[in-house]
């Protein structure tokens, strides 16, 4: 089954799953008295909100097969946008069912059904606020992630309790069964992630072989599997890494920057930029010989997925890490298809792997173009920013047959997507993955 076809099939299944509770309520309708349109619309929104809530976990990219199929950032953004949709449906539900009754938003009073609903609403509101404004309220990523899980679990459970206590459409046994099945489907990935993934991570530790300062606030952790085969991955993918016991420490999504063609010791490398939190405080302290725990690989950004006559890699900042993995993998495979790397940076102090990349030009069909916005005096290379004119200067005549991978800061990725499509490239040839969703 082709990737695109599989993606369409799974998306269709997802949409049908969202509509199923309404369809079941329609078919096994237990309501005996005529109710106004407005009230039924409110109930319909509730019947949409519930499967949206219970399916949200599957969207966040921790299920590897789904993450690889769509790409992690696609799932993250979709999760974020549909989360806002959930808030809309959950907010409209009580307003339409009982308009003007603001007491129903009080989680401390009223019948159990009303209290469950009110708690669910306010916790969802808190979850949305802490996610949309995490940086503004300076909530560390690790704390936010833990809070996100706990709130998600509570919201799903309270929504189930609310529906079962309502005894509207849920007074039908079939509707109740469907609602409960959705909840089980909601719990399984959570339990799988929390228990099974922890077990796997704990039973497959990695030893830190090197903790290297690359300059430009970037460190590379070189890790080697201890007593297991390590990690098979495609160049460009990332893994979740915990630098302590994975049950009690944060997991961080980090691009693998080494070759996917593993050596005899099956070592891999993670390049981590100091962003001030875990990456700046904990990572520099990770001692050689200590254990780290890895869960992966995830993500759909990889040259292995795209057939092209050649590749154009456009990177900036720490976005160079997955691109380095692609280049090193091609070198190790003896893949002599042409690769053009456009590396944007302020100056050479902000460039990592410079010597290595320049040396690789002699070992494979690679052309590296540094584009410096604040170049040193005497610099004769490219300066400024990557734009359509600069791209045209470096792309070969058959550039339409190349595949394009972009990885870097969000603003740069936005610009590149615009410039590349301006060249007439189809969107299907331009690939990127973003990590700064929250």
């Amino acid at each position: 089954m082709g990737t695109l076809f599989a993606a369409i099939v799974w998306f269709t299944i997802y949409v049908l799953a969202l509509l199923l509770p309404q369809a079941v309520a329609l078919a096994w309708d237990p309501i005996e008295i005529v109710r106004p349109f407005r009230l039924e619309l409110g109930v319909a929104f509730g019947l949409i909100a519930y499967p949206l809530i219970t399916s949200e976990f599957s969207l966040v990219g921790r299920i590897r097969s789904i993450s690889v199929l769509y790409g992690n950032d696609v799932l993250m953004f979709f999760h974020k946008y549909m989360g806002i949709g959930v808030l809309l449906f959950v907010g409209l539900h009580p307003l339409l069912v009982s308009p003007g009754n603001f007491a129903q938003f009080n989680p401390l009073a009223g019948a159990p059904m009303v209290r469950y609903g009110a708690w669910s609403f306010w916790l969802l509101f808190a979850l949305a606020l802490t996610s949309l404004f995490r940086r503004q309220i300076r909530l560390p990523y690790g704390y936010w992630l833990a809070l996100h899980y706990v709130l998600g679990l509570m919201i799903g459970t309270l929504a189930l309790a609310h529906i079962l206590a309502a005894r509207g459409y849920s007074s039908s046994g079939v509707v109740r069964a469907v609602i409960i099945i959705y909840f089980i489907g909601f719990l399984i990935p959570m339990i799988h992630y929390r228990l099974w993934t922890y077990y796997r991570m704990l039973s497959r530790p990695w030893r830190v072989i090197e903790n290297r300062d690359e300059g430009a606030k970037v460190r590379t952790l070189v890790v080697q599997p201890v007593g297991h085969r390590g990690l098979e991955f495609h160049p460009g993918q990332f893994a979740w890494i915990a630098t302590g016991n994975p049950v009690i420490t944060e997991h961080h999504p980090i691009s693998i920057s080494s070759s996917a063609e593993l050596g005899p010791e099956r070592r891999i490398e993670f390049s981590i930029r100091n962003l001030g939190d875990w990456s700046g405080q904990r990572v520099p302290q990770v001692a050689v010989g200590s254990s780290v725990y890895v869960n992966g690989a995830f993500g759909g950004l990889s040259i292995d997925r795209e057939a092209g006559q050649g590749f154009v890699l456009i990177g900036g900042g720490i976005g160079i890490a997955p691109l380095r993995s692609m280049i090193l993998t091609m070198k190790d495979r003896g893949d002599f298809r042409p690769v053009i790397l456009l590396y944007a940076a302020h100056n050479f102090e902000a460039v990592i792997y410079r010597n290595e990349l320049e040396a690789l030009q002699q070992q494979m069909n690679l052309k590296v173009v540094f584009v410096l916005s604040q170049p040193p005096s005497g610099w004769t290379g490219e300066r400024g920013h990557i734009d359509t004119v600069l791209l045209k200067r470096h792309l070969p005549a058959q550039f339409m047959r190349y595949q394009y991978f972009v990885c870097g800061p969000s603003a740069m990725m936005d610009e590149m997507e615009t410039h590349l499509t301006a060249l007439g490239l189809p969107r299907s040839c331009v690939h990127s993955e973003r990590f700064d969703v929250v």
């Binding site: 309501i31 005529v34 619309l41 950032d73 949709g85 059904m113």
Partner: protein, 112 residues
């Protein structure tokens, strides 16, 4: 992947879900029900219909026993009317349905 496409996809899907919900509400609110509110006016009082009306209208928040203390405190001659008046102010339910529920509660309070 262009994240604007994902945003458009999410908006499109939300629109589809709203449209389907409108269809759902239209379909069920236009259905023939066992106890149609417009047919209750002047109809012979039926305990079953009244209990169902109470369950559908009030039962989500209040067990039938819950309001009985208050109902019982109303003077017997005007009890049903008092409950009806309260129901009229409590929500925007059809008047006929409120009459049915008021009688149901008044009868229940009288028996308790």
């Amino acid at each position: 992947m262009h994240h604007n496409i994902i945003l458009r996809l999410a908006i499109g899907l939300t629109g589809l879900l709203i449209a389907v919900s409108l269809g759902f509400a239209l379909a069920v609110s236009g259905r023939e029900r066992r106890f149609a509110a417009q047919n209750l006016e002047g109809a012979v009082y039926s305990e079953g219909a009244a209990a169902a009306a109470y369950q559908q209208r009030c039962g989500q928040c209040h067990a039938p026993e819950q309001p009985l203390n208050w109902v019982a405190r109303q003077p017997a001659p005007t009890r049903e009317a008092e409950v009806f008046k309260f129901l009229q102010q409590h929500g925007k339910s059809p008047e006929a349905e409120n009459r049915l529920i008021a009688r149901f509660l008044a009868n229940k309070a009288a028996k308790s």
